[in-house]
Amino acid sequence: MDLIIGGAYQGKREYAKSRFSLGEEEIFTCREDGEICLSARCVDRLEEFTLRCVRDGVDPVAFFREREGEWQDSVLICQDIFCGVVPLGAENRAWREATGRLCVYLSGKAVSVTRMFCGLAQRLK
């Protein structure tokens, strides 16, 4: 699995498509109210999935750990929403922390971790 993180609008998805020769149809985009499809070659917007986890009382790390076989060869993309100010709302705080923990777990499992900054790729692992 290859993990790509970075802030909003920093070019994560374009980079994934270019580096891994992904077509738009091979990318599953998580939505706040939608399902996750771990069998896709690439899963984008994991931060939307973690928000749903927070609302449903699901631990995203446990969710991924139980399904490791499904995503171990995937490209996963997540926004680093855990860098900003601690938000005032309890849900946003839980979301921020759940996303941080998931990215730490996924970084440990990844063969490569890349952080995007202004369209430039920084290799973290």
Binding site: G6, G7, Y9, Q79, P87
Partner: protein, 181 residues
């Protein structure tokens, strides 16, 4: 030589940018492009702090809240220009003078063109922006559009500049090119 610097608030971007401009100028003229159009006493106090920080460093200050490319006409284009900040320029361009109502949707494109002109024609240029892309908050649509627009300007500048630096808690990350302090 062009340098793009971004990162979090109060991480040392402006002082790094000043040191970089001094070094790049190699004794030649240095132009500080001041971008903030003050609205209240807090702004005026911030400007006074920045002016005091720059005192004695040998910068000539040009106040250009909008139309940043005019710095090339108002000063010798062979100078070293320090533009601080892209963030303020975008907000100013979104609201032209005496403007009421919605933000100008052409602001980001216009600002990108102006900054790329400076990058291309200036002797040296240092650009400072702000990384405002990593929050666990659902912003209102105005703020979200502003973030998307700023990112488009940042990315165009990062692509055009020789060196791209990020400051993280005062620590330097070199994303592109080389940088020797």
């Amino acid at each position: 030589m062009n340098l793009f610097i971004s990162g979090g608030a109060k991480n040392g971007k402006s002082s790094l940018a000043q040191r970089a401009a001094i070094k790049l100028s190699a004794g030649g003229p240095k132009i500080y492009v001041a971008t903030m159009i003050p609205c209240d006493d807090e702004d005026r106090a911030r400007i006074a702090r920045h002016v005091a920080d720059r005192a004695g460093l040998g910068f000539t200050t040009l106040e250009l809240g909008r139309g940043v490319e005019r710095c090339l006409e108002l000063a010798d284009p062979a100078s070293t220009f320090l533009v601080d900040s892209v963030t303020a320029l975008l907000l100013n361009e979104m609201y032209p003078e005496n403007h009421t109502g919605d933000a100008d949707p052409g602001a980001a494109r216009r600002l990108t063109d102006g900054l790329l002109t400076v990058a291309r024609r200036a002797g040296n240029a240092v650009f400072v922006s702000d990384a405002i892309y990593s929050d666990a908050i659902r912003y209102d649509s105005f703020t979200e559009h502003y973030r998307a627009d700023l990112a488009s300007v940042d990315r165009a500048l990062a692509a055009a500049c020789d060196t791209v630096l990020e400051l993280c808690a005062g620590n330097l990350i070199v994303h592109k090119g080389v940088w020797e302090p």
